[in-house]
Amino acid sequence: MFYREAGQFKPSYEADQQIFPIIQDRVGIAIIIAFAALVVPMIASEYWLNSILVPVLIFSLAAIGLNILTGYAGQLSLGSAAFMAVGAFGAYNFMLRIDGMPFLVALVLGGLAAAAVGVVFGLPSLRIKGFYLAVATLAAQFFIVWALVKFPWFSNHSTSGVITAQDIVILGFAFDGPVAKYLLTLAIVIVLALMAKNLVRTSTGRSWMAVRDMDVAAEVIGIRPMRTKLIAFAVSSFYCGVAGGLYAFTYLGTVEPEGFNLDLSFRILFMIIIGGVGSIMGSFLGAAFIVLLPIFMNVMMHGLLGDYISASFGSNLELMIFGGLIIFFLIVEPHGLARLWQIGKEKLRLWPFPH
């Protein structure tokens, strides 16, 4: 029923080393990208573009960042939102303080600033592991948000640290409408996602996985743990930083440091757990799930219960259902949506036969 990999022989090394070695995967990805780039802007309403698709893409990017660190390199982090904040405020400041700074360069520089901060806060990972490290990354979370609020230079002396993103102009074309912003976000996310997909199968990616599976053993076979872990922190923070820049520039427009709080870090962590730890596709699935779930629940609640319950009880009910669903998901499929997709593919391959 479903496609099989058998019979696709590769005559050259180049052909064998493609990111998607199977032709059906390539075609599938191309169709999805074409659909997202050509069809979606035509059919989606402004609300869908602004409030659903753009945040899903941005959070996918942040989830890829955290997935590189947690899923591939095995370093648990609770500070992803803080690195997003560094990216957002970095891109804003580069745009503000350097005349004629192109947006894409500012975005990359913001990401690099986040990477530098990430390396600093990644240094303790050389000594400590697991939950000790997770709590240590909370230092990054609280310190960065505090610093952005306390030093008004970062927000150009605005009250309470709120920044308003500058207009995005690339090569004379102003990206101001929802469609333009969506397409810009989509392009950046696709490029970075493909780079991540490629990166995790290079020697760097493989050494990350070796360190994740057992760092002492990895060290014994000649992988330098310090370099590997710090690269993971740098790359992960870079992705989070770029996601933060997009969050400020193409999604919200105005952001404040308090917006990048611990709750946001947890949501990104939920995305990779629900989507699948150690899977790039899982990052997308998880981000879509976590962004859509509250919206879906809100709509359902208003549709079903309507006026019967008060607004405050409604929000508490949402909290309960959100928490309950997370637990339910973890119990039913602890390996996430990516694993469900894999199981589904296996089943379809044999269908209609059971074995």
Binding site: R127, F131, L138, W146, I273, N316, G323, I331
Partner: protein, 308 residues
């Protein structure tokens, strides 16, 4: 000097409260290896349930509002709710997740945090409530007159209560049969199972005890700062206490709490003015982080030896 002492003592006393929250974490982590992020939500749930019962009980039973009978009845009912919550958590959430990687369990407890907060506010409402334990928050006159140091009676009472709690827990762990079984489970699950200790009963008991600790912490915190959603954030302050003291050590939770409480207040007073204040929000974490660089397993944590 007097000012320094005053800040130090104030910090130590507030550190005792952090220790109380951290204690709940340690109990569960020791016995089941679960990093229970929901401990803060449980503290909030406990305080809110207690206050909620003191409000509705006079109407139900005709007892005098604010009386001793209502207080103890509400305490017993809140304790029962906490034990039920703890055991239900163990049975419904963690039992099906046995043998999953620690990060999955940790995520489940974050989900639990949302669930518990939602349930607590859904039942009792989200208003900020006062909680009166009948202890006045006034300075101790003797210390104020003789040494000119301001120490609040309430803080002192809270510290004594915490000390009493820790002492009785230590006795419970050391000298009762259940306590011995608990320590055996904490040491080695499989060995404990093989000599016939019922693992699941022990886990249920631990969650019940953690619920009790959460209730005490919730009452003291609630009486200090009012019963409100911000109580859940105290859990976050308990985390640096944990890594400072080591995840598996009860004395570590106490000593860590004292260190964090004292150094955070001292840093706020003496270092804060130079950098614009508000450093209390991150100072404990950075302190714990620097400390970890020297001793990665915390003050009293077990040294972990990696084998390939």
């Amino acid at each position: 000097m007097q000012f320094f002492l005053e800040v130090l003592i104030g910090g130590l006393l507030s550190g005792v409260l952090y220790s109380l929250v951290a204690l709940g974490f340690v109990l569960i982590f020791k016995a089941s290896g679960v990093f229970n992020f929901a401990q803060g939500a449980m503290v909030f749930f406990a305080a809110l349930t207690f206050v909620g019962f003191t409000e509705v009980l006079p109407g139900w039973t005709g007892l005098e509002a604010g009386g001793t009978a209502v207080f103890w009845l509400a305490f017993v009912l809140a304790l029962a709710s906490m034990v039920v919550l703890g055991i239900a958590t163990e049975k419904i959430v963690l039992r099906p997740l046995v043998n999953q990687p620690p990060i999955t369990l940790f995520m489940a407890t974050i989900g639990l945090t949302y669930l518990v907060e939602g349930i607590a506010q859904g039942i009792w409402g989200a208003n900020v409530r006062g909680l009166d334990l009948g202890i006045e928050d006034v300075p101790i006159e003797y210390m104020l007159e003789q040494h000119n140091i301001l120490i609040s009676t309430f803080d002192l009472f809270a510290a004594l209560l915490a000390g009493l709690l820790v002492g009785s827990l230590a006795l419970f762990f050391q000298y009762t049969k259940v306590g011995r079984a608990l320590r055996a489970v904490a040491d080695d699950h499989q060995a404990a199972l093989s000599i016939g200790i019922p693992l699941q009963h022990i886990w249920a008991i631990v969650w019940g005890v953690a619920g009790f600790v959460a209730l005490v912490a919730g009452l003291i915190w609630g009486a200090r700062n009012g019963v409100q959603f911000a109580l859940t954030f105290t859990a976050l302050k308990a985390l640096p206490v944990l890594i400072l003291g080591g995840f598996t050590s009860v004395p570590g939770a106490i000593v860590g709490g004292l260190i964090i409480g004292a150094s955070e207040k001292l840093a706020e007073v003496y270092v804060g003015p130079f950098v614009g204040g508000g450093i209390e929000s991150w100072f404990p974490y950075v302190l714990a982080l620097l400390f970890l660089l020297v001793r990665p397993e915390g003050l009293f944590g077990e040294r972990h030896i990696d084998r390939v």
